[in-house]
Every structure is written in C-alpha cells, then in structure tokens.
C-alpha cells in the first residue's frame, strides 16, 4: 500500500500513554497505533459536533464508539477518512494522523485517504445496476485496474474475507440487490476490502440486520481485525462489548471516557459512562 506523503513512523499506544492521550492497553505488550487524533473539533455551520477530542486508535484491534444520538460519534468516524467534509459548511480544528501522516495536510488527496480508510454504512448500499461481481471490483476498476485475472483473483479473495464467497460464487452475475440484507452488507464489506484498505470504518453496520445476519457480521469483524484496524460506531452496547477491544464513550461532542472494553463495561471511571451504559441516562 502506498503512503500518502512519506514513510510512516512507528507510533505506539504506549508512547502516547506517556503523554496521557492513550488508554492503557490490557496486554503488557504495546499495541501499535493507527490513528492519533489530537484536539479534534468539528463544526457544522455554527454547531459544534466534536469538541476537542484526543484519542489513539490501536492497530489490528476493534475500537467501538458509543454514545447517545447526536453525541458526535458518526461525525468522529467520518473525520477519520474526511467524509464529513462532504457536508457543506464544515470546519475542523486539530489533527488526525494516520500512521503519523496528517490526513488533513494540503498535500493529501482525500480520494486516496478514502481508499486507505474504507467505510461501511448503516444501510447496505450495493450499486443497483451492477452485478455482485461488479460491485466488488468497482473500486479497483475506478482506480484503473484492467487486468481481468487480477480482478477475478481480488474478487474471490474479497468475497472470501467477507465470508460471502460460498454463498454467491455461482451467482456473481446476478444483481447485488438480489441478495438478502445481511448478504448485501457483507457484499459492501467485500467491496471495501477489495481496494485493500488499512482501516475499515463501520457506522452501525448491523443496525438494519436480523440477529443471525448480525452475528455473521460480528464474526467477520472479529476475523478481519487480524488484518485491519477497525473502528465502529454502534448503538448496541452489548455488541460493543462482544466485538471491541477498546471503547470510547462520547457525549455532547466530547470524549467522556476511552479505555479497554472490559474495563469500561465492568468498572468505568466516569460516572457519566456508568450511567449511560447501565441505561440510567441517554
């Protein structure tokens, strides 16, 4: 995978801990850090959606962002691949580093950022006029890849990683929209994986799915984290507890607490976190 501007320096959560900006990892060994978010604030017009958030996202781990509606969690997620900029009258302060590179530097192409940092949305959105196969490799085609053998290999690899290959291998020519909701969401994950991103962002990826489809996506997230850094927004706290290694709790645009999921769900430090996760406010 190409770098945006320069070679990425090695950053670790342990290094950031010394500066007080990272949660203590549960394991003794330091976890490498994919994102370093420093003093991030985002406004939509006059409204401040994110208020001075600082946190590090550990590599090859699942980080869940929880909080009540309107707390800024989706905005924060979108800031990690500059998608929030698609909303008019957006303004931001602070820095977001991806492996040490400033994603908001003037020399950075947002399109490349979004290729390196893929996004899965709440509602599956396969391209309705495309077949299952075309949906998966469209990102590569748009990037100029024409080698059919390479595309076929990447198609199978991506569908296998998304745990969908066995279900669709004989139907690749059928429309993507012919699949069930859960399969469509896994198709979108395969599409995101096809361009080999470093990070996969997920914005409530299971909220429109039934429990079985949800379980399959959760299992997939667990398997994907060995290769990818995953950041997910979820309203489902039990899901956050099941799938994530780290959890961030946001409220009114502020990061209230960030730490290992087990710690946050058994003994949160902040009373606001405790009240929210136990269902006493929000």
């Amino acid at each position: 995978m190409e770098n945006l501007v320069m070679e990425t320096p090695e950053r670790t959560v342990m290094e950031r801990m010394e500066k007080g900006t990272a949660p203590p990892p549960e394991a003794e060994t330091p976890a490498a850090c994919t994102f370093e978010v420093k003093n991030l604030s985002i406004w939509y017009g006059e409204k401040r959606a994110i208020d001075n958030v600082t946190l590090d996202v550990a590599s090859n781990a699942v980080t869940a962002i929880i909080g009540p509606s309107g707390c800024g969690k989706s905005t924060f997620l979108r800031a990690l691949n500059r998608m929030h900029e698609l909303t008019p009258r957006t303004r931001m302060e602070g820095t977001v580093l991806l492996h040490g590179e400033d994603l908001y530097s003037n020399t950075i192409d947002p399109a490349i950022v979004r290729r390196r940092v893929g996004m899965i949305f709440q509602k599956s959105n396969p391209f309705p006029t495309m077949t299952i196969g075309e949906n998966v490799v469209i990102g590569l085609r748009l990037n100029g890849v024409r080698n059919q053998r390479f595309l076929n290999e990447r198609l199978e690899k991506s569908l296998r990683m998304a745990a969908l290959w066995d279900e669709v291998k004989d139907d690749l020519h059928k429309p993507g929209t012919s699949l069930s909701g859960g399969q469509q969401q896994r198709l979108c994950i395969a599409r995101a994986l096809a361009v080999e991103p470093e990070v996969v962002l997920m914005d409530e990826p299971c909220s429109a799915l039934d429990p079985i489809a949800t379980a399959k996506i959760e299992e997939l997230i667990y398997e994907l984290k060995s290769k990818y850094t995953i950041v997910t927004v979820t309203h489902n706290m039990q899901q956050a507890g099941r799938i994530s290694d780290y959890t961030a709790f946001m409220y009114l645009g502020r990061l209230i607490e960030f730490g290992p999921t087990t710690k946050l769900f058994t003994n949160p430090t902040e009373k606001q976190t405790e009240d929210y996760i136990t269902g006493r406010f929000g």
Partner: protein
Amino acid sequence: MIAPKHILGTFDEALATLRSNVLMMAGLTERSLERAMKGLAARDDDLCANAIADDEEIDLLEKQIDKDGVDILLRFQPVASDLRRVVSAMKLSSNLERMADQATTIARRARKLNRHPALAEAELIRPMYDHAMAMFKDSVDAFAREDVDLGRAVVVRDQELDDLNRMASDKLVERMARDPDQLRGYLNLIFVGRCLERVGDHATNIAEDAVYAANAEDIRHQSLAAAT
C-alpha cells in the same frame, strides 16, 4: 450507594428483588446459626430442630436467587456496577447456603451432645461463635451498604478465628486424653468449632464479594498475588 433510577423500571425492580432476597437469606441464615448455638448452650433440642428446619427455606431462597440472577443476566445484560451486583448476589447466596449447612451440622452435633451430661468445655466454643457471627454480620453489612472499608476489615479478622479454633481444638484434644469417657462429646465440640471456622471462611468470601460489588476490586488470594 443508591444508583439513579434506571430507564427500565422492570430492571430496577428485578435488581431490588434480587437484593431483597439475598438480605432475607442472610437474615434466615443468621437466625439458623443463632438457634443452633442456643440449642447447644441451652441444651434445647427444639431450637436445634428449628435450626435444621430453617435450612429448607434457605435452600429454596438459594435456588430463587440463582434463577433471578440468571434471568437478569439473560433479559437485561447488565454491565458495570449492575453486573457486579448480580454476580456478587449469586455468589453470596451460595456462601449463605453453605453457612446454613454449617448451622444444620452444629444443630445435629448439639442434639447428640444434649443426650449426655453437660460439658463445661462447651464454653470454649463461645468466643469462636461470637467472633464468627460478628464477621458474618459485618460482611453482610458491607454488602448491603457497599462499604469497602468494612469488607476489607472483615477479611483480616479470619486469621483470629482460625487461631481461636486451633486453641479450642488443642484444649479439647488434651481433655480427650485425660477424660476418654467423654471422648464423643469432646469430638462433637471439635466439629462444632470447625463449623464455626467455616462460617468465618464464608463470611470472608462474602466480604470479598462485597468489595468486588462496590469497587470492582478482586481482593481474594492477596498472598498469592503478592508472591507472583
């Protein structure tokens, strides 16, 4: 600490019922131990029978608390302090049930002792009983009030109970050697002492669970943790 009201009233009700049943079980266990020991001291078989009868009700409460705890875990998936309260309540009920079993054993031993002339050495057991019951009451108070300091204080008192038991046992063994005719009686008193020592162990467990429920801190087996 009283938690703010939950959005789901049924969840608050379920937690309150669980807590209320644990405290009721603790009350019954305390009564059963008192009856068993009074049955021994006053040589009253009726009190011993009552202590044994209490055990059935306590067993039913243990099953009810386990069922309610599992239901809460299943239906509400509690987290943080709620999760710790449910887990601790279920562990408490298990310890209380075993304490009640000790009360039953004491009552049975007391009935055997009551068939023979009174032994003055029964008084050797009294300091152990006072100490074990004080530990028990404080451990339940620590749970009920989420009092971490009281819970910690109970744990360190267990050593004293062990020492009292050892001293009482040594004296009773000595008496057995000097007065073999009363061997069975002394042996029964040794078993009663052992039961009270076990009551202290269960009180310690309850105090440790109380600290975990209140503070999310596992204070069990601290000597092992220090060694590693």
